[in-house]
Symmetry: C2
Subunit: 164 residues, 2 copies
């Protein structure tokens, strides 16, 4: 006697893998504009309320985005990275290199893997889609902080809704 087993993977698509990457890359284009708009001499010095500088936050974003996608594709996880202040141009160059690398690694991730649970960076265990959303949310969260810093510095930030 056999028992019918319902599939455990969700059948309906709210968001496909390609759409999730496109969404993230749209956010990354906006975040890049915020970094570019930040006054160089304030990037690693200005902060509010004892929080981190936007330069430090930018380095954190670099340490999460491409390494997350590379890890999802290869299961090789980078667990250390350099947090030393660097010139803004260097952050932007790394950002652009990572944008291309993320596209390339993403294409290597089997579609079914987004629903599989894995441990990222040796310590964060969750379905891959949730790990990716965490990276995106963390970027939007810290970028929101960057908007306040820019306004406090008297700089008009780029519009939130523009992602191209």
């Amino acid at each position: 006697m056999s028992t019918a087993v319902e599939p455990t993977a969700p059948a309906a698509v709210a968001i496909s893998p390609e759409q999730l990457l496109a969404h993230w890359q749209g956010h990354r284009r906006l975040t890049r504009r915020l970094i570019a708009a930040f006054p160089e001499d304030q990037l690693f010095t200005f902060a509010i309320g004892g929080m981190r500088t936007f330069g430090q936050l930018s380095l954190e974003l670099l340490a999460m985005a491409m390494p997350m996608v590379r890890g999802a594709a290869t299961q090789e996880w980078e667990t250390s990275f350099d947090r030393q202040p660097v010139p803004k141009d260097e952050i932007l160059r790394q950002w652009d290199a990572d944008t291309a690398a993320m596209d390339a690694y993403w294409a290597q991730i089997p579609a079914a893997r987004f629903q599989e649970t894995m441990t990222a960076f040796g310590q964060y265990t969750s379905p891959l889609y949730d790990l990716v959303l965490y990276c995106v949310d963390n970027e939007v969260h810290h970028r929101g902080q960057g908007y306040v810093y820019l306004r406090a510095l008297g700089v008009e930030p780029p519009p939130f809704w523009e992602r191209q």
Copy 2:
């Protein structure tokens, strides 16, 4: 003579409708904790760099979240809402009522609709999944702003990663 037409909807699931709602409601639990932590006498008065108060931002979030989900379910779009300052307890009561309403309306949205393009609030035309992501991102963005306001006020904000 007939021509085979490839389906245009993406076949692979990165995120299912149920997962997207669960993700959003997790963010809403955190945002609710930020509102609850905000000093009542600063909610509609404190701001940095000419930006809006966290009270005004909270009212905007209320005007977007449940109305978006209701609109997706019913195609009835609310296009006006009250932006008058209200006591914090009233915002939290509305937040909780909307949380329940969002769960109920979400259950009425056919799964295929998340990939369909619609016009929300009479003016924002995009696939439904993208409209929902915009609401979530807008909440995370403004909540990030709220974190800076709280820190500037000397209040320890709730941890970003806690969503239960």
